[in-house]
Symmetry: C2
Subunit: 657 residues, 2 copies
């Protein structure tokens, strides 16, 4: 944005937002979201500026929007990112010469300048109009010259006319115009911005204990999942499972006969990353599963873990893709002294790297051809960032409908770099943020810092790898609390379904994860237990669908509530306002006085309004800004109020149908 030494270079664009500060990465939006551009633009002296926003869709047309001046040399315009793909925008600004002239003329006249002076100034205005009439279509050229004549003849009304101004601005040659550097806008599919994920192990979907479920058994679970309101079903790896160094129950170093092994130990003589485990029903069953999901309006997300079991066909076909030790054996994964003998990592810097990178990209392409467009990528932070930038960049350039979720539980800079380079969703630290202070601090980091432009969190209360002490010790109330928090704080969230809905609290004695872990054994679940959390899932997903405030991340504000165990916040989208209050203490009743910022919420002082608890169903008439909220964890540890300015008590929505 440096200016040049040029006699017309008077305008300087000092800032353009939004953009990603670190380097020249794109900002991100989900389809249908707005990009509100704010530019700082200055010029010497008292002249007026014209500014416009130019938005270009990659390979498509450019749209031009006028920018509106605001306070403090700032100019705004907004556009909607209609559909997935790459856009870019930039700001263009120049001195509004006729507008400046007209403004000064108006002030001269109002200040009582004598007619002799005004007549001289009118000649200057006429000169500008004549200059602007060059290279203008005949009819408008004639009109401009007619205005110029009128001014030359002393026609003050024509000089001050808005039509004169409009035509002059339209044909201003924009002398000395400057443009900001373009900012890329990566537009993701709508599901990247608002979605509920449901994870389950298809091999645990049979009704018969210890019988390996198939993808057809899993497909039978889909109507129930859809009925609960989920959008995406996410399956752990479905590929043939290795047998060498196969892990046993709860990660025992050696599997006993008949134990199924971890699905992340990918590859067996049957095939690798582009095959489906025989006991799941093979590729044909997979295709039936995707079709069944599609019929229900569900999307399938696959787990992509770029690592091989020692039995993976690629180990024999492409030994050059793996690191060797000095004795010629393939190096298994390790972080000394820890060893993972059942997993061979790829060497993405090997001599033959180009074929390897293409092969890995080919894995995504294989599943895309089978109707999968959402990928949960396992441990992306252990592969070079340049690989992901190349791979995701190539794939999304052809197919912007893709969504990549980064499972990078690592240090923040790497987590955020992966989001910048192309991942559309990211696992987060949410699981470890359980106190009021932790939740507030983390949400403020995600929503009020530059992260909001490119890092899209996907909140998971638990995963097959993580069962936090808070959930393990807090039982059902804790499970409700964390589910409500995930689903209301973040527009994108997921749940590792079966153990969560059955409130499984058995923690492994040494690790922060489930005992009797499905990663290493087949479980059988009661898919229709009326005592499960399924009704809560159904209710919350419906509330999310019917309230735009919960479908976005940006407009989140915390409310003052006088109790360290209680968290209160609101989200707003247009007139839709949702206030959530949660008791974070799973053991005790807590109550606290909450303060509602009536003015910020657009609520008139001294006028009653309705607080409709969408979770419990009660409706309250409030008027003041202070209210005591009391939450019993054994009844319902949360409220999700919708604020309604009308007071009629008949249901606006019936959540009990």
């Amino acid at each position: 944005m440096k200016s040049a030494s040029d006699r017309w270079a008077r305008v300087v664009i000092t800032s353009v937002e939004p953009r990603v500060q670190e380097g020249d990465w794109p900002i991100k939006r989900a389809a249908g979201e707005t990009v509100a551009v704010l530019a700082g633009i200055i010029v010497d002296g008292h002249d007026k500026l014209s500014a416009e926003l130019q938005v270009t869709r990659k390979g498509g047309a450019t749209m031009t929007l006028p920018m509106t001046p605001q306070f403090n040399d700032e100019y705004t315009a907004a556009f909607v990112a209609e559909s997935p793909g790459r856009y870019s925008y930039h700001v263009r600004a120049w001195v509004d010469r006729f507008g400046s002239w007209q403004d000064q003329f108006r002030r001269r006249k109002a200040g009582g300048a004598p007619e002799s002076v005004l007549l001289i100034e009118l000649l200057d205005g006429a000169k500008l109009l004549k200059e602007f009439a060059v290279n203008v279509p005949q009819a408008e050229r004639a009109q401009l010259l007619a205005y110029a004549n009128a001014l030359r003849e002393g026609n003050i009304k024509a000089a001050l006319d808005t039509e004169t101004l409009g035509l002059a601005r339209k044909h201003d040659p924009q002398r000395g115009a400057v443009e900001s550097a373009p900012v890329g806008v990566e537009v993701d599919p709508a599901l990247a911005g608002f979605a509920a994920w449901y994870e389950f192990f298809p091999r645990s979907s049979s009704d018969v204990a210890w019988v390996h479920g198939t993808l057809d058994d899993a497909a039978a679970r889909l109507p129930g999942i859809r009925d609960m309101g989920f959008d995406i079903v996410y399956l752990p790896p479905v590929h043939p499972v290795g047998t060498q160094f196969r892990k046993g129950k709860d990660n025992a170093p050696e599997a006993k006969p008949g134990e199924p092994g971890s699905p992340w130990a990918i590859g067996a003589p049957d095939g690798g990353h582009m095959s489906v485990h025989r006991e799941l029903g093979g590729l044909a069953a997979f295709d039936r599963f995707v079709a069944a999901a599609s019929d229900l309006g569900l999307q399938v997300a696959l787990d992509i873990a770029f690592q091989c079991s020692p039995d993976h066909p690629w180990v024999k076909e492409h030994p050059e893709w793996f690191k060797k030790r000095a004795d010629g054996t393939i190096r298994y994964a390790e972080n000394p002294p820890k060893k993972y003998q059942d997993v061979y990592p790829f060497d993405l810097g090997c001599e033959n790297w180009r074929t390897l990178w293409e092969a890995l990209k080919g894995v995504f392409e294989f599943w895309m051809e089978r109707g999968v467009f959402i990928f949960r990528v396992d441990n992306p932070h252990t592969k070079p960032l340049a690989f992901w930038e190349w791979c995701i960049g190539r794939l999304r350039a052809k197919n912007p409908e893709l969504i990549f979720l980064a499972e990078a539980f690592t240090r923040p800079k790497t987590m955020y770099a992966l989001a910048r380079l192309g991942f559309n969703n990211s696992y987060t630290y949410f699981t470890w943020r359980n106190t009021k202070e932790e939740l507030r601090g983390y949400m403020e980091e995600l929503t009020t810092t530059p992260l909001i432009e490119f890092f899209r969190p996907n909140f998971w209360p638990s995963t097959p790898d993580i069962l936090h002490e808070y959930l393990a010790s807090g039982g059902r109330p804790a499970h409700i609390v964390r589910y409500v928090l995930a689903a209301t704080l973040s527009p994108v969230y997921g749940v590792y379904g079966p153990p969560y809905e059955h409130v499984v609290c058995n923690q492994h004695p040494e690790r922060e994860e489930y005992a009797d872990n499905e990663k290493y054994e087949i479980r059988v679940w009661n898919w229709n237990d009326p005592g499960s959390l399924q009704p809560l899932f159904r209710r919350i997903n419906r509330i999310r669908r019917e309230n735009a405030a919960l479908q976005q991340l940006r407009m989140l504000r915390f409310l003052d509530i006088q109790n360290p165990h209680m968290l209160a916040y609101y989200k707003q989208s247009g007139s839709n306002i949702i206030v959530c209050v949660v008791n974070l203490d799973p053991f005790q009743v807590q109550e606290g006085v909450m303060t509602l910022p009536l003015e910020a919420l657009g609520l008139p002082q001294d006028t009653p309004f309705q607080m409709h608890d969408l979770l419990g169903g009660e409706r309250y008439i409030w008027q003041d800004q202070h209210y005591t909220v009391r939450l019993d964890p054994n009844v319902m540890p949360a409220r999700i109020y919708r604020i309604l300015q009308r007071l009629r008590t008949e249901a606006d929505f019936d959540y009990y149908s």
Copy 2:
């Protein structure tokens, strides 16, 4: 900072600080100040990184400093900006391959790996050393190969040796190294970072009422100014004053016979911007003035106002440099309905702009040849920013000893843009920040935002153009308060001497400026009035010189004090800590309980320390963190404590000698 698709491109530099966010402008330092660089650098997986900071002086050598890893993937190194001129720095990083290998080897050994495994790993280490030995001077090459042999022979001690590591790191071929974009560092002379300015009108320096003082009279004032501890004497324009449309007393539209006119109406038949007013003694007297200042160690700052009186020789010689109205007359300055008929602005976009720009640059060069290196630029925001960038850029590239002070009392974006493009000091909003809240907010904006990297404030309690109501109504206590604030909050400050030291409070009835304004008339001052504020100036300037904490802007923190009229803050530089407490109420005694953050100040709990009030002279022994401070505006409305951890009561400095 984007990574490339390259098999070795594993390292990513995610951020580099300090830098100026908006565009590619340099950060600024005064000579002798430190640049502490903080870089975020990541790599996939568990490998270790090497990082270095490369600092290049323009046209000079490059210095390489190793960066030290800190918490959270951050790396630091610092360098001192030794002398004025342009530097640039960048960060370079690569995978520390031998260091990573050694670290893993150490962890393997500690984890109890069998010798057979360790021997295999040693072969990998040996291979690295052999690879690193290529293109290495003979002696070190032999040493590397000797280490490689030792490893190959199973020498674990050699493998873990820090000398092996040091030599390997020295010759690491730095495969896949990445470099950040260079950041410019504009190093200004030390006086740009720490200086006290004294402004006076030389024509008011005669001892005889109504007699036009000369620059020789003014030179007679210099020893007194130096004695008060000032560094820079700043003179309003010294050029011939125009007679057409000359303004009279207090900006009266017409001067009476004998009235001297405003020095900012520059130019008369005698000459223009490169001449000295005849009544001031002409160029010869000016040269004597500069020589006298130089002998005293004072620098002279000149006012550069790029505008002409109608009598300026350039109006006749270069009519093409000015804007014409349609009737052919030259357009005087105006902001309708306001008119300034005594001032013709230049048209920096005129046809002949190149000669005009060169002529204006030539004005600076003319005065530089006469020994002036500091310029206070009048209203730079009414000329194109591109002109200043070009003009200051050219001049400072040849002579980095220059200092340009921008008198841009305008909206913030323009004020800050002028600082970014090259002005070394800036007038500020300080004059209008008088309450506790205003002062705190403004200082936090200046010191804790990106402004700290390029905007260097110069604080003035009053100027010939501005006398704030706070000073006008608050009398002597208000003058003391504002002086103490200016001189302790900002390392660079100035005072419009004579009226300030005589506590002139006569405000113009309609404007926020002095009545009987020296801009339009000659005043006579008692330069040796013992009742003036000169002793305060002397004391404060001495305190500033003897306390490094007051010579910098960055390390400023506000302290909690329980009184809305009292402001408390501290500044720190190394072991030098200064605590200031000010009663902002010029009329009433105020007292408040101040809290000292003992831990942040490095003071041990429960150990007494000494608070030496450098202004009043008292010494107090404190121990607790809470103290009541009581300030009587009619005695002394401020304290400037120096914290001393030793308790002896004999004077460490004698401020009363």
